[in-house]
């Protein structure tokens, strides 16, 4: 004998909210193949009794005359008894039978999911198509941006200077603390790391050469660009992505306003202006960090300064500057592109933001490698 006895809160009739105690019980007698239901048949009761559906035989007898009230889960239980076990339910109160009526035509098996080919070949194919589409969109974006930028260069009034300065402030001034701190600490770390081996050879003054050249030529521009990608590239993608989801980009286009001129040009221009400035600032702070470590080891400032002036040439500063201009355009541009590529929904905005940062950092390293080759050939 399988029997359950429960006490629960009873709301009276479905859809109403009165309260009071009522007894709920469910009794199954395998000998007579008879299930007796009673009291409140709700989600709590059904949760406990659902496995009973697998135990009752096909076409068993169900006495539901004592069922006082049921909710959606109780209806699902009764429906399953009736449809999947072909049970003969008797004595069901008319109001509960009426609630079950709309589900007479509900098919036993769920509808098939829309066809989504998840095989390995299909996934590889889709990924390849997505990469090709992305490359095409990047080329198209570069082309459209170049045309719009040239048009704006010919007629500077076309640029939305207000937006540009606000973006420059957010991407530049607001990033001073984080970019400066990272660079200062990196300079200190490099000096600490280099001082020990160089001291063994008695040439620890050359720590200045190492720190200054590394920061001015490589680390300064790269670290600044990475900070920009994390702070501003992601922000551009999220902002423009949300505008895409909200159909604000469509609204701009139908108002005759080119999103490229309206949104992309001010942001890329801001990136182009603030990245070199941030790079110089970060590099100077990085060198200062290196100096601090060397001074703590007993080197006078004048000696360090003389070493710096003799080690660093204009070409070193220019190398960093040229890179930072390009990195600024890349990070801001890819942020805007990912924003414009956003699909539907909140998830798509998140994906765009992630792609903006990942693509930004990837492009920074890729372009830096190209620059390394070019400068090597040019002997800069």
């Amino acid at each position: 004998m399988f029997a359950l006895l429960r006490i629960g809160i009873c709301p009276g009739v479905p859809g109403q909210l009165s309260s009071g105690l009522c007894f709920c019980h469910m009794t199954f007698d395998p000998k007579s193949d008879r299930l007796v239901l009673g009291g409140r048949l709700d989600a709590a009761e059904v949760s406990r009794s659902w496995k009973l559906l697998g135990q009752v035989s096909k076409a068993c007898q169900v006495d539901a005359s004592k069922v006082d009230v049921t909710d959606g889960a109780g209806l699902a239980f009764l429906w399953s008894l009736s449809r999947t076990r072909n049970a003969h339910i008797t004595g069901l109160r008319p109001e509960i039978a009426a609630l079950l009526k709309p589900f007479d035509d509900l098919p036993i098996n769920p509808a098939d999911a829309p066809e989504r080919d998840r095989s390995m070949f299909a996934q590889i194919g889709r990924a390849a198509c997505a990469i090709l589409k992305d490359i095409r969109e990047q080329i198209s974006f570069i082309g459209e941006f170049t045309v719009t930028a040239l048009r704006c260069a010919a007629r500077p009034r076309l640029v939305r200077w207000g937006d540009m300065w606000i973006t420059a402030q957010k991407a530049g001034v607001d990033a001073l603390v984080v970019a400066g701190t990272i660079s200062f600490l990196t300079g200190m770390i490099m000096a600490f790391q280099a001082a020990v081996p160089l001291k063994q050879f008695g040439v620890d003054i050359f720590v200045v050469n190492l720190v200054a050249l590394a920061l001015l030529r490589e680390m300064g521009p790269i670290m600044t660009a990475v900070v920009l990608a994390g702070r501003s590239g992601s922000a551009f993608a999220a902002e423009i992505g949300t505008m895409t989801v909200n159909e604000e980009i469509n609204a701009l286009q139908t108002m005759g306003l080119d999103p490229m001129r309206f949104l992309v040009v001010p942001r890329v221009l801001a990136g182009f202006i603030v990245t070199p400035v941030l790079t110089i600032y970060a590099s100077v702070l990085g060198v200062a960090g290196g100096f601090l470590v060397m001074m703590a080891q007993g080197f006078p400032f004048a000696a360090l300064w003389n070493q710096l002036v003799s080690a660093v040439g204009v070409s070193d500063v220019m190398t960093g500057m040229i890179k930072s201009f390009v990195f600024g355009i890349l990070v801001a541009g890819v942020g805007c592109l990912r924003g414009l590529q956003t699909g539907n929904g909140a998830t798509a905005v998140g994906e765009s933001t992630t792609r903006a940062v990942v693509s930004g950092i990837f492009l920074i390293v890729l372009v830096d490698a190209v620059f390394a080759g070019i400068f090597y050939v040019l002997k800069w």
């Binding site: 859809g15 909210l17 949760s47 889960a73």
Partner: protein
């Protein structure tokens, strides 16, 4: 299926954003089992009122009782059990885009019941069949139309069999046929399941079709301009604002 008792009681509610008062000391009740519609011009505070009713915004003054419990002061377990008594359909549907329609409906059941997975799925399919979307259970929200998304949102709001369903502009953006289908669904759920509806709407045809009673809010009065069955307000109310609304008369736009 209107019964005598009140399921929602609003007592001296003042709704404000900072110093900007939208509604001042309003009183009204919603009876168990009725279809109650909130109407009014744009900016009069309909959606704000609904956000207060469902506890998303705290009132500047007054209290809101749902089934006798104050939603603004309820906390912890009391608030959780109160929230389960109502479901909300937002204007945009607000379905979770990363879940299928069926998973959207099952989400609350997963969190608040111990039903096994196949039971949850069946309940979700039954809810979806009530709104005519059983065939689309495995689709994502982006794969179905706007009208279907609204119906799916109603199915999701009904997941835990709430006593009250709040619908924010259910007809907005829908064609007349889909809108009429939604009205039919509201009446069907109201008659068959006894669900109380509180609806914010602008659509006159829909209001006449479903509403037992309406309240009309007014931004100048910062309160309720009229209250009663929609046909009575249309035929007998003398207020020029109410007359203009129900007879679609253009009035001077006030700030």
């Amino acid at each position: 299926m209107v019964t005598g008792s009140n399921i929602i009681e609003v007592r001296g509610l003042t709704a404000a954003y900072g110093d900007f008062v939208l509604l001042e000391k309003i009183f009204f009740d919603v009876r168990r089992g009725e279809v109650f519609v909130i109407i009014g011009g744009s900016g009069c505070g309909k959606s704000t009122l609904m956000k207060h009713l469902i506890g998303l915004l705290p009132p500047a003054a007054g209290e809101i009782l749902i089934d006798g419990e104050n939603i603004t002061t309820a906390a912890g377990e009391a608030r959780a059990s109160l929230i389960k008594k109502f479901g909300v359909m937002y204007q945009s549907g607000a379905l979770f885009g990363s879940l299928t329609i069926e998973e959207n409906v099952m989400l609350a059941m997963e969190e608040f019941t111990d039903l096994p997975a196949d039971a949850r799925q069946l309940v979700a399919r039954m809810k979806l069949s009530l709104v005519g979307l059983e065939r689309f259970a495995a689709h994502f929200p982006s794969e179905i139309s706007g009208g279907m998304q609204k119906r799916a949102a109603i199915a999701r709001a009904m997941a835990l069999d709430p006593a009250v369903l709040f619908l924010d502009e259910p007809s907005a953006g829908l064609d007349p046929v889909t809108s009429a289908g939604l009205d039919e669904l509201i009446l069907n759920l109201n008659h068959n399941l006894g669900v109380t509806f509180v609806i914010v709407s602008h659509e006159l045809a829909s209001i006449y079709a479903v509403a037992d009673r309406v309240i009309m809010l007014d931004s100048t009065k910062k309160g309720i301009l009229a209250e009663g069955p929609p046909a009575d307000l249309r035929d007998h109310d003398k207020d020029p604002g109410v007359h203009a609304f129900f007879h679609r008369e253009a009035r001077e736009v006030s700030a």
